[in-house]
């Protein structure tokens, strides 16, 4: 198992306390008899983009709830922006912006009123509140909808408004729980670009939880979590390098060629009816193979390691259970439909 030791303060980045945005020490949580978080230890550097990747029920949301002071841990401790999440809740909350997995907007208020409410609850002065509201609404391109009741918003618009709201009070740390699901690619890119800029200029720390690979490719650090335990942590490249494999996908010219290749390389795996896949991590043997069989292949392609394959090789399971996903989507839609 990998620990948080892979992340260390950058040389000359000042005292550790100021460079660390979130630190989690031997945290555990239980629901009834089930252990949801098991001795989790993490450190997240200020200004970084940190992703918690894991399947549904891995304990990501529980961890986020503890960090946002909504739930008390059953063991261990955690600090957010230097404030203990149990003993210094108010200070911890003040430094946080949270986007929850399910909508937490008031859908009987307008977009503007939702922002106004947030600004008031965070004690922002009237002028500052108005200026920030304009800014964040522009960021998520909802200026034209500011006086519309949220009930009439699409899922994507609600999501954007929630992100805008979480940024309104200029938090040091932003939690995004399954954040950009339902957003179109353009908006997603725009929001991430803005967040990246905030990370650079204001050292905003972004903590994302997701079970979508696409969300985390841009993160500095990925932490793979499964059944309440951290099973790997590092940059996407480092994880792929360590746990992923590069494969050579090829299509032999005929059945004879296929048999010949399988005879020469027993580690080759069948891909469909006519294709083959060879492990390609060893460059020298791959080169030798290609030289030998060049004339008997119709198609050759290198497949780089993906995080999906990393997760597969670490847990032996697919990251996403598609049927499970569909069920969740149905549930969410049913709930929205039942809303008055």
């Amino acid at each position: 198992m990998l620990s948080g030791g892979m992340i260390s303060p950058q040389p000359g980045a000042g005292p550790v306390s100021s460079a660390i945005a979130i630190s989690v020490d031997a945290l555990s949580a239980r629901y009834g008899g089930n252990t949801v978080l098991d001795n989790v230890t993490l450190e997240i550097r200020r200004g970084s983009s940190f992703a918690l990747l894991g399947p549904n029920g891995a304990g990501k949301t529980t961890l986020l709830n503890i960090l946002s002071t909504l739930r008390r841990p059953d063991g261990g401790s955690a600090r957010v922006a230097g404030a203990d999440v149990v003993r210094q809740q108010t200070a911890a909350r003040r430094s946080l912006g949270v986007v929850f997995q399910d909508s937490s907007l008031d859908d009987r208020l307008t977009a503007w009123e939702n922002l106004e409410f947030h600004g008031l609850v965070y004690g922002m002065a009237p002028r500052h509140r108005r200026e920030r509201s304009e800014t964040v609404l522009a960021l998520v391109e909802l200026e034209d909808w500011r006086d519309e009741i949220v009930r009439s918003f699409s899922g994507g618009m609600r999501r954007r408004l929630e992100i805008a709201r979480a940024l309104l009070h200029e938090p040091q740390i932003l939690f995004l729980d399954e954040p950009t699901a339902g957003l179109d690619a353009q908006t997603r890119v725009r929001i991430w670009r803005y967040l990246d800029e905030l990370r650079r200029t204001r050292e905003l720390t972004v903590l994302t939880t997701t079970h979508y690979i696409e969300e985390v490719e841009g993160a500095d650090t990925i932490c793979i979590i499964d059944r309440g335990r951290i099973i790997a942590e590092g940059s996407p490249e480092a994880l792929k390098a360590e746990h992923g494999s590069r494969w050579l996908h090829l299509t032999p010219r005929d059945a004879a060629a296929l048999e010949a290749i399988r005879a020469a390389r027993p580690d080759a795996q069948l891909l469909g009816a006519h294709g083959l896949a060879l492990p390609a991590d060893d460059g020298a043997s791959t080169d030798a193979f290609l030289t030998a069989f060049r004339d008997r292949l119709t198609e050759v392609r290198f497949q780089d390691p993906t995080l999906e394959s990393v997760f597969l090789s670490l847990t032996g399971r697919q990251l996403r259970d598609r049927a499970d996903d569909r069920r969740n989507a149905d549930k969410a839609a049913g709930r929205r439909g039942g809303r008055r």
Partner: protein, 270 residues
């Protein structure tokens, strides 16, 4: 100092949200006027012939007021009860649809969040109570500005207590449907046993009272705190008290304090 200003902004924000939601909701306003109309216009007028005098010296209810006047303060209390206790729906709504988390991760302390919500609910309930005052002319209740001011203050404190009571109920009820049934089974019995639509005549001795009404009913009326709230409002609006005037105010303030404290304890536990 700065902390106080920030806390007040937060309080205002939570309050404002409740007001905005309630005043935007036409259905709620319609409820707020249909009840006084049913009770004053329909019931009050419909039963009027049964309570008016036919022979001088002989009336069913020996009170120095007409039935409409007698009913009038009780209808205000009924309207406040409904709006206050139905306010719990807003609490359940917040919890079920995730909005509660938005508030809980904010730097506002929980008791302040609850105070804001209860103040908001109480303001709306007081407004609904005040709507009944518009019908004062119909019920032949003449009101001075002083009376209206004192009545509004009492109504607000009553609404505050009942709204807190609604929050306590909300913490114990899981679903909207369950709450709808539940609130009716709470509100209507409380209303009917509060001496709202029939007097326990203070001119009669206790023995005679028990003859007029069975002991158990008199007992129910006497232990019902709403009885004293209605009585206090009668004292202010039509200058008629069935009980020691101070009791009503004491019970109203007591309910507000007690229910709010319990509500805070409940809310902190969530």
């Amino acid at each position: 100092m700065n902390g106080v200003v920030m806390a007040l902004r937060g309080l205002y924000g939570v309050w404002l949200r409740e007001i905005t939601r309630a005043t935007r909701d036409r259905a709620q306003l319609i409820g707020g006027i249909s009840r006084p109309l049913i009770w004053l216009l329909i019931l009050g007028v419909g039963l009027n012939p049964y309570f008016r005098g036919e022979v001088y010296g002989e009336v069913r209810f020996v009170i120095p007021y007409t039935y409409l006047q007698f009913l009038f303060p009780a209808v205000i209390v009924l309207n406040i009860m409904y709006t206050s206790i139905q306010f719990a729906v807003s609490v359940i709504w917040d919890r079920e649809f995730g909005f509660l988390r938005e508030v809980l991760v904010s730097p506002m302390p929980r008791w302040l969040i609850l105070l804001g919500k209860v103040l908001g609910g109480a303001t709306v309930a007081t407004l609904h109570g005040a709507l009944v005052l518009v019908l004062a002319r119909f019920a032949d209740v003449t009101l001075s500005l002083d009376q209206v001011a004192v009545a509004l203050a009492l109504m607000f404190v009553l609404a505050f207590g009942l709204t807190s009571f609604g929050v306590i109920l909300a913490a114990r009820v899981r679903s909207f449907e369950g709450f709808g049934v539940f609130s009716n089974t709470v509100i209507l019995p409380l209303y009917f046993t509060s001496s709202s639509i029939f007097p326990l005549d203070p001119a009669l001795t206790r023995a005679q009272q028990a003859v007029t009404y069975p002991e158990w009913l008199v007992f129910l009326v006497q232990i019902n705190p709403i009885t004293y709230a209605v009585d206090a409002l009668r004292g202010v609006l039509i200058n008629f008290n069935q009980f020691t005037p101070g009791w009503g105010i004491g019970v109203i303030v007591g309910m507000a304090v007690l229910f709010f404290v319990v509500a805070i304890i409940d809310f902190a536990r969530q």
